[in-house]
């Protein structure tokens, strides 16, 4: 039996070795080669961790399906669902109108303005660090502010949600269920993002995801409120 060199092991045997196929010559090479041992161990760690990360990936936000459905309707791929929709004469029916047409003026606009102000403040802290690197002295204060901004945004969103839900009057149960489903999806996404930020408060990507999650919820509530201002 001819001994394998590193190139042969890596090119011909590494992947099958990782999958548990371990011919004698590959085992022999690996036993005597610390470099290939290191590569094999690292690649196994990368592949294993990558699968774990992928399993934790979130579903796409509910708005992706909503927008997709609207485009499919526009293209005539599926029939328009006109139930529960009252449009202004001469105006196209938006997807928000189709989904949230049953909701009366659920939330006052000043409440929404507070939501967006809180989000702007949180977003400013969350993404502001990219503009210029912070001195180490000011980092602790900045993280503290980020935490406070996120907490504030979260609290304002909770209040806005309560106001919205308390303003609903006998909604169509099917559409109400869709709304609740979307809200649960967004809330789960927010929880996931908050957990990531708690674990890694200095991570810009994690903060971006959290800010985006808050914004999604504000958008959802905003769409409901927008519909509330249209004539019923």
């Amino acid at each position: 039996m001819e001994a394998l060199n590193c190139s042969q092991f890596l090119a011909d045997h590494l992947e099958s070795w990782l999958e548990g196929v371990r011919p004698v010559e590959a085992e022999a090479h690996l036993r005597d080669c610390p470099s290939c041992q290191s590569v094999a161990s690292d690649v196994a760690a990368i592949a294993s961790f990558a699968r774990t990360v992928a399993n934790q990936d979130p579903d796409p936000p509910a708005r992706v399906w909503v927008a997709l459905r609207a485009r499919m309707e526009e293209e005539g791929l599926i029939a328009r669902d006109t139930a529960n929709v009252v449009a202004r004469p001469g105006q196209p029916v938006s997807w928000t109108a189709r989904w949230f047409g049953w909701i009366p003026g659920a939330m006052p606009r000043p409440a929404l303005a507070a939501v967006y102000l809180a989000l702007m403040a949180a977003g400013g802290y969350m993404i502001g660090s990219r503009q210029k690197p912070l001195e180490s002295d000011s980092r602790d204060a900045w993280y503290q502010n980020t935490h406070m901004s996120a907490t504030q945004a979260s609290a304002v969103l909770d209040t806005a949600e309560q106001n919205t839900l308390s303003g609903l009057h006998e909604p169509n149960p099917v559409v109400a269920a869709s709304f609740q489903k979307n809200l649960v999806l967004v809330d789960n996404y927010i929880k996931l993002c908050e957990k990531s930020v708690r674990e890694e408060p200095q991570n810009e990507l994690a903060r971006d995801y959290l800010y985006d999650a808050y914004r999604q919820k504000a958008d959802l509530l905003d769409q409901i409120s927008d519909r509330g201002e249209e004539p019923q």
Partner: protein
């Protein structure tokens, strides 16, 4: 509703069937897009675009390949087209890899610390490293190591040979290993520098 039934009904324009197909596959498609572009808004847009193309063409699906393979082929094409537009370079899959990376053996980091990745990779470091991969490597790595596709399926999705898929995966893993080692070395250097500067600053007080 089982997938086969959903496909049959979607071919007849049934809205619920479209939604069912979206529910079944949207997570994997979104995840693929997210890994490829690393931007949530763009990933959402690409997911929407991939499904729209799928639903436009669903009437032509005859079941010769698995539905998920067909969908992923569309999604990968949508993503790669977007990346090509971004860089304004029309390039083949091979051109989106790094041609000089024929590895002849593992790299040795003489003089550097003996870093093993096991137990030291974190989600963000991996994400950052994946972002730095060329598009061709990235696609194969995401499809194989993250989404669990076999090389024959990836060959179908990417329109390449099985050997090409294996080779791209090997190069992607080697490149990721290098990038992750660089990150670990940087961290180790930072720690050493912090340790060195601590006694100095204590002395100043």
């Amino acid at each position: 509703m089982p997938e086969a039934e959903a496909i049959r009904l979607a071919q007849q324009g049934n809205a619920e069937a479209f939604e069912r197909l979206y529910q079944l596959h949207s997570r994997r498609v979104y995840s693929l897009c997210l890994r490829m572009v690393s931007n949530t808004a763009e990933a959402e847009d690409l997911t929407q675009e991939a499904f729209l193309q799928l639903f436009r063409k669903i009437g032509t699906f005859r079941g010769e390949s698995a539905f998920s393979t067909w969908l992923h082929r569309l999604a990968v094409n949508v993503v790669l087209m977007r990346l090509r537009k971004k860089t304004a370079i029309v390039s083949s899959l091979d051109e989106m890899t790094e041609p000089d990376e024929e590895s002849s053996g593992p790299r040795r980091d003489f003089g550097g610390p003996d870093l093993r990745l096991t137990g030291s990779i974190d989600r963000m470091n991996l994400q950052r490293a994946i972002e730095q991969l060329p598009a061709g490597y990235k696609s194969v790595f995401v499809l194989h190591d993250m989404q669990g596709y076999e090389h024959n399926e990836i060959a179908g999705i990417m329109g390449c040979s099985i050997g090409n898929s294996k080779s791209q995966l090997h190069k992607a893993r080697m490149r990721l290993r290098e990038l992750l080692h660089e990150t670990l070395r940087d961290k180790a250097r930072e720690v050493r520098q912090a340790e060195k500067s601590e006694p100095a600053s204590e002395g100043e007080e």
